[in-house]
């Protein structure tokens, strides 16, 4: 399937078109500020005011991706989010505790359900199509890609909106800091949306070959897992963007994308967006990375130690 358009909001200036210069965020402790666009040009300002950041980011990247693909009604809307609407969840929890379960108002509760972003996109588009929300930790976005593969296998004429979004709140930051989550990279948030289809349109950015779940021996590590995947798939990527720091796969340039996104569970959405930019020949400079020339093939593995597997997204130039 082809990535027919892509849009991303992150701590980098990723939303605007033009040459990209990605800064590295190592050594920063504070939460990264989001580089947000002027939402009012994308969505009715009256609606924007009522939306939490995750809904704004999700809706804005969805609208931008659809506009870029000249698509008004997608045949499916799939969103991946690990934590969902944390801001509204925290707000309702706080009020519930403080008011001892009395005199509560519904707005935060209504907007706290995990499917709110995908639902808001459908509502804005008046889109009755298939609509699903995946909430599988760092694989939430990869789950939307698998569903998209199935949908396009079932009906190749479809064009599908897929996305990833997660927000960071004062509560989630405080709790995850206590878990030691932000030792390597600072807290962050972001969203990315894509239009996928089987047709190589004039604006297509890259080809998404597949998403696979591959067993990784925890003792041998991700590098060994990737080396054996190169054998299995019979191809060698020019670049690997992973969520691990010390990756060594011989002769292949690799870097940890979280250095450029900060820490949030669906940051692989950013990585797929960046891969689409690189493979479509956009001018990109990445601080601290010597990109090889003529990148044709990029792999994005996301390792999960709980299940000893990686979700591997493989992309090529169109």
């Amino acid at each position: 399937m082809y990535i027919q358009s892509a849009s991303c909001i992150s701590a980098q200036a990723s939303f605007n078109k033009g040459p990209l210069l990605l800064k590295a965020f190592s050594g920063i402790k504070e939460r990264l500020p989001l580089v947000e666009p002027d939402y009012t040009v994308l969505v009715d300002p009256k609606l924007i005011r009522r939306m939490s950041r995750i809904i704004r980011m999700g809706v804005a990247t969805a609208m931008a991706a659809l506009a870029e693909a000249s698509l008004t009604q997608p045949d499916a809307i799939l969103l991946g989010t690990a934590y969902g609407c944390l801001d509204d969840t925290g707000l309702f929890l706080k009020k519930m505790v403080e008011n001892q379960e009395e005199m509560l108002t519904p707005t935060a509760f209504i907007q706290s359900t995990h499917n709110t972003v995908a639902a808001q996109i459908a509502l804005l588009l008046k889109c009755h199509a298939y609509n699903n929300t995946y909430v599988q930790r760092t694989w939430s976005f990869q789950s939307t890609l698998l569903d998209a593969c199935l949908l396009l296998q079932e009906n190749p004429a479809q064009r599908i909106l897929v996305g990833a979004a997660d927000e960071c709140t004062a509560y989630s930051e405080a709790i995850l800091r206590r878990f030691g989550m932000y030792k390597a990279f600072p807290p962050a948030e972001g969203a990315a949306c894509f239009v996928l289809g089987t047709e190589k349109t004039a604006g297509s950015l890259a080809q998404l070959q597949s998403v696979d779940w591959v067993a990784v021996d925890p003792a041998a590590g991700l590098s060994a897992g990737l080396a054996s995947s190169i054998e299995i798939f019979g191809e060698k990527p020019d670049l690997i963007m992973s969520d691990c720091d010390d990756l060594i796969v011989s002769g292949i340039t690799s870097f940890n994308y979280r250095r450029y996104t900060g820490e949030y569970p669906t940051a692989s959405g950013f990585a797929v967006w960046l891969a689409a930019m690189l493979l479509s020949g956009q001018p990109v400079e990445i601080e601290g990375v010597n990109l090889p020339r003529g990148i044709q093939r990029i792999w994005i593995p996301v390792l999960d130690l709980h299940t000893a597997k990686m979700a591997l997204v493989r992309l090529t130039a169109c």
């Binding site: 706080k94 509560l104 459908a122 008046k126 699903n132 929300t133 599988q136 199935l150 405080a174």
Partner: protein, 410 residues
Amino acid sequence: MASNVHIAGTGVVSAIGMNLAENLLSLAAGRTGIGPIRQLQTVHQTDFPSGEIPLSNAELQQRCGWEDKRPQSRTALLGKLAAMEALSTLPMQRNGSESGGGKPGFRSAFISATSVAGMDLTEDFFPPFLQQASAGRLQQVVNHECGAITHAIAGSLGVNWDYCTTISTACSSAANAIMLGARLIKAGKMDMVLAGGTDALSRFTLNGFNTLMILDHQLCQPFDQQRRGLNLGEGAGYLLLVNDAVKERFGLTSQVRVTGYANANDAHHQTASSPDGAGSFLAMQGALAVSQLQPADIQYINLHGTGTQNNDASESAAIRRLFTNGLPRLSTTKGFTGHTLAACGAIEAAYSVASLERQCLYPGLRITQPVIEEPGVMVNSFEEGVALKNILSNSFGFGGNCSSLIFSLS
């Protein structure tokens, strides 16, 4: 040629029983599980009758033999119980079973649904945490996320799953999990899929639904003209879906298949259904199209039927639009279990499978003036010896998420 999607096993835990057999006995006897709240610590214990499972977390943890003795989310405990029952039909052994993932060529997936996830523990964590950011036991929030609950259940079942994921589309979540499972099998990507959902009662959801003013202070009366709202419930349900090859390999006798499914969006409002039930209509119509059946081929619908003014009006409008040449038999089992949110699609799928296998219809409760007034449509008492071939089951949720499933007897 795509494989059939056979239902090789079902597991259910709800307020009317700790396994499928107990659930079916309660349904046949017309015995509701809804009553005062006793386990959940809330100021509303006596305000809102609920379909609560009458066991403490410690009792549940013991019952499902959870090896990790740390406190688990009730959502995971309920999920594990139902998942174990659904899996028990296969000769599955721990670690290295021949039907387990990757063993001789059979690929397996676990697709779970939840909306509450670990919120039952998070809401215990929050009061001290709000006082001081360094307070509160972190163990209570380690499984806050939906995906963490799925991994906890998946890891406790002793199966090496090739793929695990979680769906959260509010009250249609489990129906979407079953739909994805069926599609993975049809596409040839998986040989067996354990699909369903789990949700425990929590203060968060109870208070949330209370702010929407759609909770009934009495026992709910879904699909009655005098209905006042819904009662919440808790529970879990899973279906073990297998392809032709697995059915043959293990000599399974399952007679019921998933033949239809569809997911559509109402695109009307974040929490309310459209008056004409646009999303529900499209979901039912889409499921019929996938199963290549006509409306007249459906003998019974297990309604979403929550008991709110809005749902029951919208759902019946959609059914009337689709079934123009006569309505199938209808009932909702939420008067027994309460509304189990992300789990209801799978619990009601298990009831629908049992109806087909046993050729019987389970009733709705407490209907005095039915919303659908034509005689002989609503099922008001347990009926046996009914010729049933195809059953449609509806699940609709916040965010306009509407899904319908069709189950057929071979």
